[in-house]
């Protein structure tokens, strides 16, 4: 594997501002970073420093004002404009999201919350449910497969959400405060899990966190302040 395509995520002088003139907010200023496969990295910084904004740009949810970005060796943003039209397909194939609040669909049971992403990617419904159950087992919530999200505990729901993020075997997993809703024991379990994933699926994991308890679980940490990356 050559160094040039070794990074899964390569962000190159990305800037993002909201509004214009008086109300202009520079959320990101020329941020550059690279994340390699099997790396678990943290995004830190005070509130309003641009962490979520950066995560959204990497997740192809938000466009950049300028700069370039490559995901898995593919040019996705060049000089601030998208190079691909079907961003949802890109997300479906390559990116898994873990939200702070689990964001499971309340009208589907745990298994179907996972199966739906597999079906959207083209799996037939039987195969999707089978794989969904495997994933739930893997995350040790196999016994809650037919439970509705409202009846799951915070930790269980978070694990189902993680299972969903993993369903299509994405290479890039983005997590916005994945442990904020969990106690330190469960936070540790989730971090172990993310680590295991990074290793087993050769994936990169980028997590925004304020949670000092888990700082030691990361390979590298990026500090954002006023939209600028300070050190890594």
């Amino acid at each position: 594997m050559s160094e040039a395509i070794a990074q899964l995520v390569r962000v190159d002088r990305i800037s993002k501002h909201f509004g214009e003139g008086e109300t202009r907010v520079d959320a990101l200023r020329e941020v550059s970073l690279e994340v390699h496969p099997r790396e678990v990295v943290a995004l830190l910084g005070p509130s309003g420093s641009g962490k979520t904004t950066l995560l959204n740009v990497i997740g192809c949810i938000l466009d950049a004002s300028s700069g370039s970005m490559d995901l898995d060796g593919e040019r996705v943003i060049e000089n601030g404009s998208w190079q691909r039209r079907d961003l949802r397909k890109l997300r479906l194939d390559k990116i898994g999201f873990i939200f702070q609040s689990h964001n499971l669909l309340p009208f589907l049971d745990a298994t179907d919350n996972i199966a739906i992403v597999l079906q959207l990617a083209g799996a037939d419904s039987k195969a999707a449910r089978r794989r969904a159950l495997e994933l739930l087992d893997y995350l040790e919530v196999g016994n809650r497969g037919t439970s509705m999200p409202a009846t799951l505990s915070g930790g269980e729901a978070q694990r189902v959400a993680i299972a969903r993020a993993l369903a299509n075997k994405p290479r890039i997993i983005l997590a916005d405060e994945p442990t904020a809703a969990l106690d330190s024991k469960r936070a540790g379990i989730v971090m172990d899990l993310l680590r295991k994933l990074a290793n087993e699926q050769n994936a990169s994991i980028i997590a925004v966190t304020h949670d000092e308890k888990i700082f030691d679980r990361f390979d590298r940490m990026f500090y954002l302040r006023d939209g600028r990356l300070e050190s890594s």
Binding site: N56, R88, F97, S101, N103, F107, L108, I116, Q119, L120
Partner: protein, 377 residues
């Protein structure tokens, strides 16, 4: 997996409650449409009942329904002699009250000559009037049944036959009796007025006046032609059946019809707004879920399908609930409610279109929502 269905199943009770609510509203709309139709049809039934071609009434009136008309009783013989007239009959109309089994009945009394035009339409049960006195053919809406004895004026009448749906434009059930009985009744019921008139010498003809003469024409005779002949008598005027029906629906019930028509349109608009609001709110409540769907890579068509299918389900279930409700209770209304399939289908189409349009509103909001909304808090 069908997301629309799964979401509905998840909150089934609430969805069904919404459907029932909408159903009640659409039921009211249907009822109004039926009442409107019923009013128009009721207004015409009395004029259609004798199945005749020409109405001969007092000169320069539009009688006998829209305006009062009184003509001499011997007019009928003159009319019957006109070329083109096959048969003619005298007829009187009056509203009268009778008491039956402790109930006050308000009836529309039609006096006619049993062997001549002017009698009731085909009967529901019993027979037509066979004797020259004290027999009645009553409409079912009066509550009278065969064999009932009803005191009217100074006489008591026996119900020998019944009609159905034969009421005047005010909703009073019709009863048919012989012309002679009806004329006597007219005199009995307002003796003082008649006496005053007679004292003044105003009605030299005495009791022998009728409200109209109705004529059935020979197959090839032109109603307008015969009407022209009748109008040569200065004291008479002639109205064709077609013109009579136009008078009834245009002048007699016009205001009531416009009133109900306007109210029905208002109800339709209100229902449309409510349907739109329900569907819009249904979508707005799901915006975060829709953002999540976008985030996990669901294409627009999945999201659009979910919203449109739910809107359609709501519309269909609501509409059928309403239609079922009205079809089951329409006979309990005091006046006729007529639901023709074309009205019901038209309302169905309106509901369908409104649902489609208002889901468009929801779809617009859904497509605009930023997938990033799912991430925040």
């Amino acid at each position: 997996m069908n997301l629309a269905y799964r979401d509905i199943r998840h909150s089934l009770g609430r969805f069904l409650l919404t459907c029932v609510g909408l159903g009640l509203l659409l039921g009211v709309v249907l009822a109004m449409i039926g009442i409107y139709r019923g009013l128009v049809v009721d207004a015409l039934t009395i004029a259609r009942a004798p199945a005749i071609d020409l109405w001969i009434v007092e000169a320069s009136t539009r009688g006998p329904f829209a305006e009062a008309s009184r003509i001499p009783g011997d007019t009928r013989e003159a009319i019957a002699r006109i070329a083109g007239v096959e048969s003619a009959g005298s007829i009187t109309y009056q509203t009268a009250e009778a008491e039956h089994q402790g109930r006050k009945l308000r009836l529309y009394v039609i006096g006619h000559e049993p062997t001549r035009p002017g009698g009731p339409p085909p009967l529901l049960d019993g027979r037509g009037i066979g004797q020259s006195h004290f027999e009645l053919v009553a409409d079912r809406a009066s509550g009278l049944v065969l064999g009932d004895r009803v005191p009217f004026g100074r006489s008591t009448f026996t119900v020998v036959g019944r009609t159905i749906n034969n009421v005047n434009s005010g909703g009073d059930p019709a009863v048919y009796m012989t012309l002679a009985d009806a004329q006597k009744l007219q005199f009995d019921l307002s003796p003082s007025a008649s006496r005053v008139q007679r004292a003044r010498g105003a009605t030299p003809a005495g009791r022998d006046t009728v409200n109209a003469v109705v004529a059935r024409l020979k197959p090839h005779a032109s109603p307008e032609g015969v009407a022209e002949t009748v109008r040569r008598w200065k004291h008479l005027s002639a109205i064709t059946q077609e013109a009579q029906e136009a008078i009834l629906s245009q002048s007699l019930v016009d205001r009531a019809r416009r009133q109900i028509g306007l109210f029905t349109s208002l109800l339709l608009v209100v229902s449309a707004v409510i349907i739109a609001l329900i569907i819009y709110t249904m979508t707005m409540e799901k915006l975060k879920q829709i953002a999540t769907l976008k985030l996990i890579g669901a294409p627009d068509r999945t999201i659009v399908a979910m919203i449109v299918q739910q809107a359609m389900a709501l519309g269909f279930i609501g509409f059928f609930t309403g239609a079922l409700l009205i079809l089951n209770i329409k006979d309990y209304f005091p006046r006729r409610v007529i639901l023709e399939p074309d009205n019901v289908l038209a309302l169905g189409a309106v509901v369908f279109i409104v649902c489609l349009l208002s889901s468009g509103l929801g779809v617009r909001a859904a497509l605009r929502v930023d997938p990033a909304t799912a991430l925040g808090g």
